[in-house]
């Protein structure tokens, strides 16, 4: 048997290489001048400003406030998203007919396809600067993600318990609350917690478009050329991300894998 021709693979690799070269040419990036002594020195000076973080009590207090705001934004956004997601998941799981199914799936896809930061920019226009806009932005994007996951969970749930309640005369609401919800509840909770973890990371940067939290502090500090203050905010973000990672890793090991 003849080995399959390798020419298409080589051609593809060549095309990739050409694409990389074309990208640099198109963007007009001159790596040589970027790495020349002069611009490296400027970058070095700029970076040196970050080497002396500002640990004064007043600034630390502001950062604590910003961190709490970030956490609150992510928690509220996720909670709102879980409620909205569940409301949309019921029709998206096909419980109210085919028309509602396709319509809500379209809505969920649209909510999910637009990144959080774009939602945040839109919400800042619609609701003004501040954490409210960030919370709403997180809620909208996450509702799209959770809605789809919830709908899948609902579709895969066994429907015998709910049917038994319906057959013995229970209402549709009772059948859902006592027949379906108990079986999907752990899954819904796990999905929501997982998205919360993502949202904490996201909430810390949404402030770049004016949506509150640590990101807004960093943006303001950098705009005022306060590198020392900005460095402390970046450290706080780093600690927040690492703490969330460690905590979720620990929780996963403790409760998920046996």
């Amino acid at each position: 048997m003849k080995a399959p021709s390798r020419w298409p693979t080589y051609a593809l690799l060549l095309a990739l290489l050409l694409a990389v070269v074309a990208s640099f040419r198109f963007l007009g990036i001159d790596l040589g001048s970027l790495l020349s002594g002069d611009s490296l020195q400027q970058m070095g000076q700029y970076a040196a400003g970050f080497m002396r973080p500002d640990f004064s009590p007043g600034h630390l207090k502001a950062i604590t406030q910003g961190t709490l705001e970030t956490l609150a934004m992510s928690a509220m956004g996720t909670l709102l998203a879980a409620l909205l997601g569940l409301a949309l998941a019921l029709p998206a799981a096909g419980r109210f007919g085919a028309l509602a199914l396709h319509l809500t799936r379209l809505i969920l896809n649209a909510l999910r396809a637009i990144p959080e930061l774009v939602w945040a920019a839109l919400m800042v226009l619609a609701a003004g600067l501040g954490p409210n806009a960030g919370t709403l932005a997180l809620a909208l994007h996450t509702a799209g993600v959770l809605g789809r996951l919830f709908a899948e969970a609902l579709e895969n749930a066994p429907n015998e318990p709910a049917e038994a309640i319906r057959l013995s005369g229970g209402s549709a609401v009772a059948a859902f609350c006592y027949g379906t919800l108990p079986t999907v509840w752990p899954q819904l909770l796990a999905y929501s917690l997982y998205r919360w973890e993502n949202n904490i990371r996201m909430a810390s940067v949404l402030g770049f478009v004016g949506a509150g939290g640590l990101g807004q502090m960093l943006y303001v500090a950098l705009s005022l050329f306060q590198e020392a203050q900005a460095a402390t905010v970046i450290l706080a973000m780093l600690l927040l991300v690492l703490a969330v990672d460690a905590l979720s890793g620990w929780a996963r090991q403790r409760w998920v894998s046996h």
């Binding site: 990208s23 705001e69 780093l238």
Partner: protein, 275 residues
């Protein structure tokens, strides 16, 4: 005899638990200033309504389309160039951080000596910092350092994704069968040769697949990074939003969706073709 309960017997504890949860949520509600009603205030609603009404029809005049095409190409180019730089940084970093090429590990069942493990820590912690600071923060920092435009985006992608690729590549090297590499090193070859002939052949498929997946992520990231001025489609979306040009925002969001779908298709093609 059992008498059927008229009500949910667990109703009271559930109600109390919900009340407790609400009590705990109260400070969060205060801190996040959550108030969706702001959206419905007549002033805001009218503004937003006009903006959204402009979404149809999406802007499609010739001049705008050429601008859109350029911005889209720029986004693709930022992602591609950024990933190329990331690979250049990640490969040496992964080689330094990985245990796979440790000489002292050859005779110790794969565990390097303590000083060898210590020597790998600086690179490992550097990679952690590179990938843990969100890419958009890097973008903002580089915008201040090298000015508005795609260069900042390319550098930000290079830095963040170097951190991710470096870590994952190091782990891929370690997860391969160590015997070919060890055999070469014991027989007296240099570490780079041992890597190129003992580890790379079995690791390259996995490396490539991860690289392509990250390229896909980089496209989405480069759009988002445009919002802090790092060039590409995102910067144009930000500009049009500030001018309340609904039609332009609509066509750019549609382009973004098409771009994500296209990247998905390209990455699928590359993975099936090259693996």
């Amino acid at each position: 005899m059992l008498s059927p309960a008229r009500h949910d017997p667990a109703a009271l504890p559930r109600l109390l638990l919900s009340l407790l949860a609400l009590l705990l949520l109260w400070p969060g509600l205060q801190l996040s200033e959550l108030n969706p009603a702001v959206l419905l205030e007549p002033n805001n609603a009218a503004n937003m309504g006009g903006f959204l009404a402009d979404f149809w029809p999406p802007a499609h005049d010739r001049e705008f389309l050429s601008l859109l095409g350029r911005a889209t190409l720029e986004t693709l180019a930022i992602a591609t160039a950024g990933m190329a730089l990331a690979l250049l940084i990640a490969l040496p970093a992964a080689l330094l951080a990985s245990r796979a090429l440790s000489l002292s590990a050859v005779h110790r069942g794969g565990r390097p000596a303590w000083w060898a493990r210590l020597a790998r820590w600086p690179v490992r912690s550097l990679l952690i910092v590179l990938r843990s600071v969100p890419e958009i923060v890097w973008a903002l920092l580089f915008v201040r350092a090298v000015g508005l435009g795609p260069t900042a985006g390319v550098l930000a992608i290079a830095i963040t994704y170097a951190g991710m690729l470096g870590k994952v590549y190091g782990e891929i090297f370690e997860s391969q069968d160590p015997r070919p590499g060890h055999a070469l090193m014991v027989a007296g070859s240099g570490r780079l040769q041992a890597f190129a002939y003992g580890i790379l052949p079995s690791a390259s498929a996995e490396m490539l697949s991860y690289k392509v997946y990250r390229w896909e992520c980089a496209i989405r990231a480069s759009v988002v990074m445009g919002f802090v001025g790092a060039g590409g489609l995102g910067q144009q979306i930000d500009l049009s939003m500030r001018m309340f040009a609904g039609g332009e925002v609509a066509s750019m969001l549609l382009t973004f969706l098409a771009l994500v779908l296209l990247a998905d298709q390209i990455s699928r093609l590359l993975r099936t073709r090259l693996l």
